[in-house]
Amino acid sequence: MLEINNLHARLTDGREILRGIDLSIKAGEVHAIMGPNGSGKSTLAAVLAGRDGYEVSEGRVTYLGRDLLSMAADERAREGLFLAFQYPVEIPGVNNMYFLRTAINAQRRHRGEPELDAGQFLRIVRAQLKLLDIGEDLLQRAVNVGFSGGEKKRNEVFQMAMLEPRLAILDETDSGLDIDALKMVARGVNQQRAPDRAIVIITHYQRLLDYVEPDRVHVLQGGRIIESGDKGLAIELERRGYGAIEDAA
């Protein structure tokens, strides 16, 4: 599904953040990317999603057999790449529900599917809300405006569930959450596990992985993946800290 080869990326001011990332993710897998602050986790998410402000200086990324880096951000999204934001953005005056329907229909048009009318959309929404235990009032408010930290993250997971991506990247979705919100996020991710879908969880802490079992865990440090392993690696990290892994590598 996703092949990253020797990916180097820098900020527009020239600072190199990613220094040769290699990563291979197959459909059906859940990968966790862990690392300390400043290791390049969020930059990796941003570069994969096509955010402006980064320059890829070397390497390539293949997504579903296509050159991901040549696609515009919105095209990547319509091709099924979803990013759950670390800091979801407020859009005043735009109804959350309307925003989501606009997004879904943009993606459906891209796939040559008919757009959902309000009724069809509402039925799907209701079903998902129930699964994720989200109140309907969240939908009637403006996108992320006045949402608590937990509500914003729930909303991201809800959008992910509604958009049914092929590749979902969760950028520190667990940070700043209380245990209930964390469990909700985990439930959302577990529900999204599917044979034709890959999920990448970017996180600083191990605790989300108490509820979501990853197939692979990678440690990102200084813009490189310095260690990969199974779930046991996350537990070891939690116990010994990032420093120990770095020293060992």
Binding site: G50, F85, Y87, I91, P92, F99, A103
Partner: protein, 484 residues
Amino acid sequence: MTASTETLQTVRSLSQEGYKYGFITDIEAETAPPGLDEDTIRFISAKKEEPEWLLEWRLAAFRAWREMTEPNWAKLQLAPIDYQAATYYSAPKQNAGPKSLDEVDPELLRTYEKLGIPLREREVLAGVAVDAVFDSISVATTFKEELGKLGIIFCSMGEAVREHPELVRKYLGTVVPQNDNFFAALNSAVFSDGSFAYIPPGVRCPMELSTYFRINAAKTGQFERTLLIADKEAYVSYLEGCTAPQRDENQLHAAVVELIAHEDAQIKYSTVQNWYPGDAQGRGGIYNFVTKRGACRGARSKISWTQVETGSAITWKYPSCVLEGDHSVGEFYSVAITNNRQQADTGTKMIHLGKDTRSTIVSKGISAGRGQNTYRGLVRVQPRAQGARNHTQCDSLLIGDRCGAHTVPYIEVRNPSARVEHEATTSKISEDQLFYCRQRGLSAEDAVSLIVNGFCKEVLKELPMEFAVEAQKLLAVSLEGSVG
């Protein structure tokens, strides 16, 4: 026949007549020679078979206009207007328009396709009574009979002068006098047609009344005049839409709208203004100099203006309320977009004369490209206006870094019990917002339009439903090309 079917058929036959059959009249007799003098005014008045008093009224306006100079206080840059080069009267004629769509400039067709106007027009018009004004004359008014049963008069201004001279004479110029300002005086001298409506006491007008203005002829100004009167306890909602074809020269549009609300009456006046804005380099486009004013004559009367201004090269327009009656209410909700080289200097005046009068102003200005957008508003509380209140909210949104937003509020309070509030914000569409939308699959342009619609929501929700949909689409089209 149901009301909506009637409208559909009228609209259909209109477009067919325009293209297929045309209007069979002598060409020379239809268009006034270019230039403006007393003979031009006599020509227009004679053409419209007007009574002597109206001709005198026009001539008085013309004499006043000759002594006046163009206002120069607005933040607008424009080439001098040659008033003697323009034509002041033009009625549709058979050979003027294209005979089929094949003859229409494909660029124009594309613009309309993007606007969805032909289709939208029909949808919007269903269930709405329409007076269609094409260049200088009203070509059709729908639902007149049905409205007539309720005692509502809705017709072209020309017809009102013939059929209801007593009403026209009683109210014309009582809100916007002939010599009110340069452009109003010009309009008073040469106004060609426009709409007239009178809602009798206690009647709630059962449908939206609407005028659809279209400038078509080249080198011709449009000077329509609209007069709406809501008698005691009457209610009316009125819509106004406008379009004009693309032309390289600037065309002048100087309209006057007068509203009168008697005791306990309410008038809601909505405009979606989409005159041709000129091209990306600033060539062509409509110069829109409009005087709109409503008088809340009676106690507890209410006048509400809602405008969405997307078109015109120049917009100079301040729909205002004179709150004469005690406890009367004035409202102004506005969205103004300037893209490319468009300039807008728009706002309102709320003049508080009566006791406990209230006014609300919500203005949303959006600037993109090299557009310049100015909010200019006056809130005046006169000594007798005990307990007057005003709240003004004025928000500007900038897209890109070559445009400008300006806010010029004037507040004059002559009664110590008044409460006047003014809030203003200026913001930019952030990269974060754009990326968030695009990451969900929206194109950059759709993302901008979504964000802008959210920004304008408070105003758009004041529009009647059918108009709100059209307005949202217009916002999107107006901002095309504003993001890289």
